[in-house]
C-alpha cells in the first residue's frame, strides 16, 4: 500500500507525554504510510487516545518529534493541524446536539471557507457561491454515508450509531488526508458495526484517505487494518500486520495478563 517514493505520511518519532507523575506515553514511534489503514490497539489506559491527541495537536509531547507529509510539526495547535489535513472523530460523540445533521457536517467545512462578515451576512456574491459549493460537497458526503433521511434531524435526537456516522461525515467534510478515528464502533450492535466497517473501507477506497483508528473489537481490527500497532503502559510493544501481531508473545501477555517483573 505504501508508496515508498513519497515517504510516510505521518512520522511519530520517540514521543513521550507526561501528566504530572504519570508517564502516559514513553518514547513511542509510529509511521503511517500514505493510503494505509493502521489500527492502534491496547488494553485500557495504554495511551491510545493520548497518542491520537498528540497527533491532532491537542497535547504536546515533552520529547520526540512529529512530522506530517514531510514537514516537522511537533508543536502545532489543533486548528493548524486540521488545516494541514488531519481530521478526527471522538470516543464520546462530540456533535452539536441542537443543530441539524446538515449544519453539523457544514461545520466541518469551516476551514475551507474564506468569509467576510458583511458578505456572509448579506448572502451575496462570493459568500453565496462559496456556501453553495460547500453545500454541494457536503451533500456528496451525505449521499456517500447514506444519511439523506436524517439531513434535517437535530443530531441529539439520533440513535448512537447514527451519531457516530454523522461525526465521521463531519470529519470527512474537511477533506482530510489523514483521518483519526477514536473507537468508531464503540457501543454499536453487530449490524451497525458492519455498516461502519463498510463505510470506513469505502472512504479509504474512494477518497484514498489514510486512516488511523483505535478499536477494541479485534474482529474489526483484523479485518480492516493493513497494520496494527499495540500499546501497553505507554509503550509500543508490537507493530506489524494483523497476522504477525496476533502471534506476538508480548501482545498475548499484555492482553491475557502475564506476570510483570
Amino acid at each position: 500500500m505504501t508508496t515508498a517514493a513519497a515517504g510516510p505520511l505521518l512520522v511519530v518519532d520517540g514521543i513521550s507525554v507526561r501528566f504530572g507523575a504519570l508517564l502516559a506515553l514513553h518514547q513511542v514511534s509510529l509511521e503511517i504510510g500514505r493510503g494505509e489503514i493502521v489500527a492502534i490497539i491496547g488494553p485500557n489506559g495504554a495511551g491510545k487516545t493520548t497518542l491520537l491527541n498528540v497527533i491532532s495537536g491537542f497535547y504536546h509531547p515533552y520529547e520526540g518529534r512529529i512530522a506530517f507529509a514531510g514537514r516537522e510539526r511537533t508543536h502545532l495547535a489543533p486548528p493548524d493541524v486540521a488545516a494541514l489535513g488531519i481530521a478526527r472523530t471522538f470516543q464520546n460523540v462530540a456533535l452539536f446536539k441542537g443543530m441539524s445533521v446538515l449544519d453539523n457536517i457544514m461545520t466541518g467545512r469551516l476551514l475551507k471557507m474564506r468569509g467576510s462578515f458583511l458578505l456572509d451576512a448579506l448572502w451575496w456574491g462570493p459568500a453565496k457561491r462559496q456556501e453553495l459549493a460547500n453545500r454541494a460537497f457536503v451533500e456528496r458526503i451525505i449521499d456517500f454515508l447514506e444519511i439523506q433521511a436524517i439531513r434535517k434531524t437535530p443530531a441529539g435526537r439520533l440513535p448512537y450509531g447514527l451519531q457516530k456516522r454523522v461525526e465521521l461525515a463531519r470529519a470527512l467534510a474537511a477533506e482530510p488526508e489523514l483521518l483519526l478515528l477514536d473507537e468508531p464502533m464503540a457501543g454499536m450492535n453487530v449490524e451497525e458495526k458492519e455498516d461502519m466497517c463498510r463505510f470506513i473501507l469505502d472512504v479509504h477506497g474512494e477518497f484514498g484517505t489514510t486512516i488511523a483508528l483505535i478499536e477494541h473489537d479485534m474482529g474489526v481490527v483484523m479485518d480492516l487494518s493493513d497494520r496494527v500497532a499495540v500499546l501497553d503502559y505507554g509503550r509500543k510493544i508490537a507493530d506489524g500486520t494483523p497476522d504477525q501481531v496476533r502471534k506476538d508473545q508480548a501482545v498475548l501477555d499484555a492482553y491475557l495478563g502475564a506476570i510483570h517483573e
Binding site: 453545500r135 454541494a136 451533500e139 456528496r140 451525505i142 449521499d143 456517500f144 447514506e146 439523506q148 433521511a149 439531513r151 463498510r198 469505502d202 477506497g205 474512494e206
Partner: protein
C-alpha cells in the same frame, strides 16, 4: 389524440413524440444530493437512446430479455425504454429479492443482460451467475464500492452510454431504425407476479395492452400533463410500471423518484403529488405514523384531534352510504377542516392530491374512511397484473366503502356461476411466459378468471368478497372470511399483520404481528422495558393491548348476523415479523396462507389445544440468503367474553 399519436403504437415511439412536441417539459425527476434533479422529455429520449446503443454494441438482438433490478431511478426507467426500443423485453425484478428468487426469475426469463442499480444487486447476480447461463452482461448505475470489481461481465452505465455514443457514430440511424420496427403487439414487459401460492409466473403484456388500459383510465380520470406522481413503489410491480412509465409517457406528466426508501414520506411532502397510488399497507403505515404522533400530544390537543377525526369519519360514512348528514355535523365540519383536516393533509404531503388510489388488495374500511374524512380523494381500484392493472375504479362522487367501483371503459365484468369474477378487456395479457398450462387455466374464451369471489350490486358496482379459495367455512358451516377479519385487525396501529385461521375448525383464532414502532412507542410511554421484538411481543401488557384490539373487532362482528360466529376466540402474538424472505408474505405483502399454516402448524395446533404456551422453532432467512433458526416460547391467550357466550 391525432393521427401521429395513433401511429405511435409503442412506448419508445411515444417518448420520441413527447421529445419532439414538448422537449423542455420535465419528464422525470430524482432527488439526488439533496436537490430535485430534473430531466426533460428530450433528456429522457436521448439518455435512453445512448443506453440502447450501448446494448446494441454488445450485439443485442430483438427479443433479448433484460433484467432490471433496483430502486426507482430515472436511469432504470430509461433502461426499460432502451430495451423496448431495440425490440427486447424488460423484466423488472423486485430489488429486495433474495438470491434464490433473483436467480429463478433471471434464469426463467432467459435474461441476457441485467441493468441494476448498485453493488448490492451486482453482488447477488455475481453469486448466482452459475444458475443463469444466458446472462452475459451486468450493467450497474451506481459505481460506489465497485472499484475493486474486475469481472469482465461488468460495465458501468456511464461506460455503456459512452460505448453507445461510439456505436451510434459508427452506425448512424441504427437506433431510429430499430425503434421503428417495434409493433403494438410486441411484448412490452414481463412482470413476474409473486403470487400467494407457488413459484412466480411471468405475465407478458404487450404495448397494445398497456397503452389501451393506461389511456382509458387516464381519460376516465381526466389526467393532464401537469400531474405529478411519486414513483416509490417497486418497479417490478405492474402498478408502478403503469403509473410511472405507461401513463407518464401517454399523458406526458412527470414521475418523481425519491432520494431513498427512507425519505419517501418527506419527499412526498416536497413534491405534493396530484395523482397518488398506494397499496393498503402504505395507507396503513401512514395512518400508524399519524396515530402514534397523536398519542404523543398533550391531552387537550389529543382530545381535539380525536373529536375532529371522529366527526369527519361520521360525516364521510354518511356520505358514502348515501345517508343525509345531520345539520349539526355539517356546521361543525368547517371547524374540523381548519383545525385538523387541512393541516394534516398538508403535513402528509397530500394537499394537492386530486386522485389517489388504493389497490393491490382489500383495504380495511376504517383506514379508507380515515383518509376520505381528511378530504383526500382516495378511491378503490380493482386490478390485476394480467389485466394491465385496470379493471374497475370508483368514479368521483360515486365512492362506496364496500365496493371497488364500476368497470373502466372497454372492460366487461361478469360473475361466474360459482361466484368468481371474470372480465374481458383490451388489457388482457398475452399469457404467462413459457407456461401455456397456467395461461390456459387463467384465460378461457377471452374471459380472464380472476380467482376472486365477488358480485355486482344493483348499481353495477363490483364487490370483492375475498380470494375465492380463501373464503371458507367453520366446522359448523358458518362463513369465515379471513381477509375481512385481518383487515379489521390491521386498522389498529398496534397490529402490523394478522393471519386468521378457522377453516373446518370449531372457532376462529388469530396469529398476530405487532407493529414495532407503535407498540415500542406505547411501551416506552408506560415504562415497559424490552430488549427485542421477540421480547416485546411476549409481554403480558402487550397481550392485554392486543386483546383489547381483538375485542373491538369482535364487537363489530357481533353486529353482523352472518359473521357473528367468526369472532376470534384465541390468539397469540408471533415472536417474529412475517417476512417475504421467509416466504410467509409476498413482496407486495400479501399473506401466503399455505406457507404460514405449514410453517406454524405446531402453533396452530396449540391454539386449538388447552395449553397457554407453545414452543416454536422457525427458520429465518437473512438478507444475504443465509438461514438460521429462532426458538421462542409463545404465549397463547383467550379472548374473554367470547368464550363465555
Amino acid at each position: 389524440m391525432d393521427a401521429t399519436e395513433r401511429r405511435a403504437d409503442t412506448f419508445p415511439k411515444l417518448v420520441r413524440l413527447n421529445a419532439e412536441r414538448t422537449p423542455r417539459k420535465v419528464a422525470i425527476r430524482e432527488k439526488d444530493y439533496g436537490i430535485w434533479q430534473s430531466y426533460t422529455w428530450r433528456d429522457y429520449y436521448e439518455q435512453s437512446r445512448l443506453i440502447a446503443l450501448g446494448l446494441a454494441s454488445f450485439g443485442f438482438a430483438r427479443g433479448d430479455k433484460v433484467a432490471i433490478v433496483g430502486d426507482n431511478r430515472p436511469q432504470l426507467y430509461w433502461a426499460v425504454m432502451a430495451t423496448q426500443a431495440l425490440g427486447g423485453v424488460p423484466v423488472p425484478i423486485y430489488q429486495d429479492s433474495i438470491e434464490k428468487e433473483l436467480a429463478y426469475i433471471a434464469d426463467h426469463a432467459e435474461a441476457r443482460f441485467a441493468i441494476v442499480e448498485d453493488q448490492e444487486q451486482v453482488d447477488k447476480l455475481l453469486h448466482v451467475r452459475a444458475q443463469c447461463p444466458r446472462l452475459e452482461q451486468v450493467i450497474y448505475d451506481d459505481a460506489r464500492g465497485m472499484r475493486d470489481y474486475t469481472d469482465p461481465c461488468l460495465t458501468s452505465l456511464e461506460a455503456l452510454q459512452e460505448r453507445g455514443r461510439g456505436f451510434g457514430a459508427a452506425h448512424p440511424g441504427h437506433f431510429e431504425a430499430e425503434l421503428d420496427k417495434g409493433e403494438a403487439d410486441d411484448t412490452a414487459i414481463i412482470c413476474y407476479t409473486s403470487g400467494t401460492t407457488g413459484t412466480p409466473k411471468g405475465a407478458m403484456l404487450s404495448h397494445r395492452n398497456l397503452m389501451a388500459t393506461g389511456r382509458n383510465a387516464a381519460r376516465a380520470e381526466g389526467l393532464g400533463p401537469d400531474e405529478e406522481i411519486l414513483s416509490y413503489l417497486p418497479m417490478a410491480w405492474v402498478g408502478d410500471h403503469v403509473f410511472s412509465y405507461v401513463q407518464s409517457i401517454i399523458v406526458g406528466f412527470a414521475a418523481n423518484c425519491p432520494e431513498s426508501a427512507a425519505t419517501v414520506l418527506s419527499d412526498l411532502k416536497e413534491i405534493g403529488p396530484t395523482y397518488f397510488f398506494a397499496p393498503p399497507r402504505i395507507w396503513e403505515s401512514i395512518l400508524t405514523s399519524v396515530l402514534v404522533r397523536i398519542d404523543d400530544c398533550a391531552w387537550p390537543k389529543r382530545m381535539l384531534v380525536r373529536a375532529c377525526l371522529d366527526l369527519g369519519q361520521a360525516i364521510e360514512r354518511c356520505r358514502l352510504e348515501g345517508r343525509p348528514v345531520p345539520l349539526w355535523r355539517r356546521l361543525l365540519y368547517p371547524i374540523g377542516g381548519a383545525l385538523v383536516y387541512a393541516p394534516l393533509r398538508d403535513n402528509l404531503g397530500m394537499r394537492r392530491v386530486r386522485c389517489a388510489y388504493t389497490a393491490g388488495e382489500a383495504i380495511g374500511p376504517e383506514i379508507f374512511l380515515f383518509f376520505r374524512a381528511l378530504g383526500i380523494n382516495v378511491k378503490q381500484l380493482y386490478g390485476m397484473t394480467e389485466a394491465s392493472v385496470f379493471v374497475t375504479i370508483q368514479k368521483d362522487g360515486d365512492v362506496r366503502l364496500d365496493t371497488v367501483g364500476t368497470p373502466v371503459p372497454e372492460v366487461e365484468v361478469q360473475i361466474a356461476e360459482d361466484g368468481e369474477v371474470l372480465y374481458r378487456s383490451p388489457g388482457i395479457f398475452q399469457g404467462y411466459y413459457k407456461n401455456p398450462e397456467a395461461t390456459r387455466q387463467t384465460v378461457a374464451d377471452g374471459w380472464l378468471h380472476s380467482g376472486d369471489a365477488g358480485f355486482l350490486d344493483a348499481r353495477g358496482h363490483l364487490k370483492i368478497i375475498d380470494r375465492a379459495r380463501d373464503v371458507t367455512r367453520l366446522a359448523d358451516g358458518t362463513i369465515f372470511p379471513p381477509k375481512y377479519l385481518e383487515n379489521k385487525l390491521k386498522f389498529s396501529p398496534y397490529v402490523k399483520e394478522a393471519v386468521c385461521i378457522g377453516q373446518d375448525r370449531p372457532f376462529v383464532t388469530a396469529l398476530v404481528n405487532i407493529d414495532l414502532t407503535a407498540v415500542g412507542n406505547w411501551a416506552e410511554r408506560r415504562g415497559i422495558a424490552y430488549t427485542s421484538y421477540t421480547d416485546l411481543s411476549q409481554k403480558a401488557e402487550v397481550y392485554d393491548l392486543v386483546r383489547g384490539e381483538i375485542e373491538r373487532v369482535n364487537r363489530s362482528l357481533e353486529e353482523d348476523e352472518q359473521l357473528k360466529t367468526a369472532q376470534i376466540r384465541r390468539f397469540l402474538i408471533l415472536h417474529k415479523e412475517l417476512d417475504p424472505d421467509d416466504e410467509e408474505i409476498t413482496r407486495t405483502r400479501k399473506v401466503r396462507r399455505g406457507h404460514v399454516a405449514r410453517k406454524y402448524a405446531a402453533l396452530i395446533d396449540a391454539l386449538y389445544g388447552d395449553g397457554d404456551r407453545a414452543q416454536v422453532e422457525a427458520q429465518v432467512t437473512y438478507e444475504d440468503g443465509r438461514t438460521g433458526v429462532i426458538r421462542a416460547d409463545v404465549r397463547i391467550e383467550d379472548v374473554v367474553g367470547v368464550l363465555a357466550r
